[in-house]
């Protein structure tokens, strides 16, 4: 049996050495799913040296061969130590999908480059007219010799301005029902005809882009799976997007922040952690956090026993993201007017000047803003509820 305490200690030892103050700073200043890009890439290279970039991957593709509990411990230790978050679209979504559907050539070419950080992938799914109703997407790919000619646009493409590749769902047959005419393509973002235009989010920062394709030539060998079979490929990938995440770890980190903020927020001669009304609000959230944690443990148990947790992953997506948003609200109430100043420069990990707000309040507003997206991306909370209604309740 694995000695998890020893394992945890080995991770801690590694973090104590490898997670340098500048990287930790980048982790601490993370206000969304993504950390500072340069820091994330530097962190990825360090993890790559240990073979720890992709804990969920099988060993034959470069995973560390950890069991579920070890993977959880690794994620937890990294997160709570303020390690930067890696750009995960390649490692978490595309990688497992290629292992399942990709050709040998595709696996051999792309998987190692994902691990090393040589390739940074972004995801081309949503379009201006196709969000929750993804199957209505219109970006078209028409075969012409050895190429597809791709025309259309993708939106909410996180990190496209840092990425060098994009995986896309494109329409290859307009004559059949929407799901049946979709294919999955790998596209080099340097190809002529591609324009990337950044979108400024509510917090004043750029994470999302819109990507335009104007008669972009993509080699037919970049098709993954069969032509017109892209929908099943995409569904497989979305399940990874939803299933691989441990919300409990995020919630624990948020709670730690809240405890600290409550100690620092004044309440008469004392602090908010002594305020019984606040204590009760926090306790309610903590009780739900415990329920979430135990539900994630149930899922882990099912997965370890070889079962399929099914719609429970939709359930934790809803609960995890909505609880995260509630915790953001608690933080907002604790920092009060300190949420106001924009301080964008201070969110850059290399910044060392003065700021208008204290450290403990620096990220609160940006987190509150950015976390609104959590119930929208990866299948909205409404889509998840529909999945539960259909798959569990049979409605």
């Amino acid at each position: 049996m694995t000695d998890y305490t020893t394992f945890r200690n080995s991770i801690r030892d590694f973090l104590a050495e490898a997670l340098t103050p500048d990287l930790q700073r980048a982790g601490a200043l993370t206000t969304s799913v993504f950390s500072d890009f340069d820091a994330a890439l530097r962190w990825q290279k360090k993890l790559h040296g240990k073979g720890w970039v992709a804990p969920d991957w099988p060993e034959e593709y470069g995973g560390p061969g950890w069991d579920i509990q070890q993977r959880y411990i690794f994620q937890e230790e990294c997160k709570l130590a303020n390690a930067p978050s890696l750009v995960m679209m390649g490692i978490q979504m595309l990688g497992p999908m290629l292992m399942h559907y990709g050709t040998e050539q595709q696996k051999k070419h792309y998987l190692p480059r994902m691990l090393s950080g040589e390739d940074i992938w972004c995801q081309g799914y949503s379009e201006p007219g196709a969000g929750s109703d993804l199957a209505s997407l219109k970006t078209s790919a028409v075969q012409d010799g050895d190429d597809y000619v791709v025309t259309g646009t993708k939106i909410w493409t996180s990190m496209a301005h840092h990425a060098n590749r994009i995986f896309c769902l494109v329409r290859t047959d307009k004559t059949v029902k929407p799901q049946a005419g979709i294919s999955f393509l790998l596209v080099d973002l340097d190809t002529p005809g591609i324009t990337i235009s950044p979108i400024v989010s509510l917090d004043g920062q750029v994470e999302q882009c819109q990507v335009f394709f104007d008669e972009v030539r993509v080699p037919v060998v970049n098709l993954v799976g069969n032509e017109n079979d892209g929908w099943s490929v995409a569904k497989f990938l979305l399940e990874y997007e939803r299933g691989g995440h441990n919300f409990t770890i995020d919630v624990k980190k948020q709670l730690r922040k809240i405890y600290r903020q409550a100690e620092l927020a004044p309440w008469g001669a004392s602090c908010r952690s002594e305020d019984r009304v606040f204590q009760h609000r926090l306790a309610e959230a903590e009780i739900d956090a415990m329920a979430l944690e135990q539900t994630e443990l149930r899922i882990k148990g099912t997965a370890e026993a070889g079962g399929n947790p099914g719609a429970l992953s939709s359930l934790v997506k809803v609960v995890g993201t909505e609880l995260g948003q509630r915790l953001n609200e608690l933080s907002m109430d604790l920092v009060g007017p300190a949420a106001g100043p924009m301080c964008l420069e201070a969110l850059d990990p290399t910044y060392s000047g003065d700021t208008a707000v204290p450290e403990h309040a620096l990220t609160t507003m940006a987190e509150y803003i950015n976390n609104r997206a959590a119930t929208i991306y990866g299948g909205t909370a409404e889509i998840q509820r529909s999945i539960i209604a259909k798959k569990v309740l049979g409605l």
Binding site: Q279, I287, T295, L315, S386, A389, V392, G394
Partner: protein, 360 residues
């Protein structure tokens, strides 16, 4: 679960599904019958009254994780007989008492001839006076759950500053009861005691009594939590079924997304409650440090969840669910009463906060 535990659960489910008819339950409840004798006998014969007791005491030695599935079924099938309260809550106090008390009272619990109940944590506590060999208990206990159907009361009482637990035979002289029907189809009671007890009725004193106090009320919480999980599941199942069959605007109600999402939310709340219940039972059985915290969290979670789920069940059924004849409203009523058992939710959360602040 072991095979033995799984068999117990499966046979319980079969029995309750096939035999515990709602209509008959209602007839007995409306008549104010304390229990259904034939069901009671069947419960006992199936071994449900012996599960948690040690093998030395004549039981199976099942932990909470193995026994709560039965409580979930009691919730699901709206069982009104207070068997599990008698066995798992009152019984746990007796089982931690001295040999003589165990020998005298446990056989009755296990063969069903004793129905023991525990009051809400009394304030003030009854007083225990000692006169020579004799003990006298005096006090008044209000709104005792199943106080009208129980044969015995297992209650904390003060002797000076020391906490004690005693068992009182309610047939004895000086035990007076105001019995009333409660909205969950049971018989409650206010109990006034001025009763002379024999020495074997003193179950525990001092530190062991305090430990038993906590154990008993935490078990009561977990039992109520499990019943709540079962009741919520039943309310959801009925709602799903009903909305499939009920047509309005030319289509089944279940085809409306507004309702589908609300039913999904019911399921979410049930599963969250179930997760906490399982974890709390396991922690209690294993005696881990987080057992108390998890227990309080589980009960607080179920109280809030069950209120929402059973209200939603009524709302989505519409008028039919407001009738006493229809089943779903009875889950709503039962859960409304369990919300104050053994204490109101705010007190549980307050205690949760206290423990958290101590451990953090």
């Amino acid at each position: 679960m072991t095979d033995e535990q799984q068999m117990l659960r499966d046979s319980a489910e079969r029995y309750l599904r096939d035999n515990y008819a709602f209509a008959e339950r209602q007839i007995l409840a409306d008549r104010g019958e304390p229990i259904d004798q034939s069901h009671w006998q069947a419960f006992v014969e199936m071994g449900w009254a012996t599960m948690p007791f040690s093998e030395a005491d004549g039981g199976f030695g099942f932990g909470l994780a193995a026994t709560v599935p039965l409580a979930e079924l009691f919730g699901y099938y709206l069982v009104r007989e207070p068997l599990l309260e008698s066995v798992l809550v009152a019984g746990s106090v007796i089982a931690s008492g001295p040999e003589a008390a165990r020998q005298r009272f446990l056989p009755g619990i296990m063969d069903g001839s004793i129905i023991a109940t525990v009051p809400h944590p009394p304030d003030p506590l009854p007083t225990l006076l000692k006169q020579g060999d004799q003990l006298i208990i005096q006090g008044r206990l209000e709104y005792v759950p199943s106080g009208g159907s129980a044969t015995h009361l297992v209650t904390p009482a003060n002797h000076g500053d020391a906490l004690n637990w005693v068992i009182v035979d309610l047939a004895r002289e000086g035990a007076l009861r105001d019995v009333f029907m409660t909205h969950d189809g049971r018989l409650g009671g206010h109990i006034t005691l001025d009763v002379t007890l024999d020495p074997q009725s003193l179950l525990l004193s001092g530190v062991p009594a305090e430990t038993a106090h906590k154990t008993a009320y935490h078990r009561a919480m977990l039992l109520a939590t499990a019943e709540g999980v079962g009741a919520m599941q039943a309310a959801l199942d009925l709602t799903v079924e009903y909305t499939r069959q009920r047509y309005q605007f030319g289509q089944p109600l279940s085809s409306f997304q507004a309702l589908q999402h609300r039913m999904a939310d019911m399921l979410i709340q049930i599963e969250l409650s179930r997760s906490l219940l399982g974890a709390a039972c396991l922690a209690t059985d294993q005696g881990t440090d987080d057992a108390a915290e998890l227990t309080l969290a589980a009960k607080a979670k179920v109280d809030a969840a069950a209120r929402g789920v059973t209200q939603e069940a009524i709302q989505m059924h519409g008028g039919i669910a407001t009738t006493n004849e229809y089943r779903v409203g009875h889950y709503f009523k039962r859960m409304a009463l369990l919300a104050s058992w053994p204490q109101h939710r705010d007190a549980l959360v307050e205690e949760f906060i206290r423990i958290r602040r101590e451990t953090n």
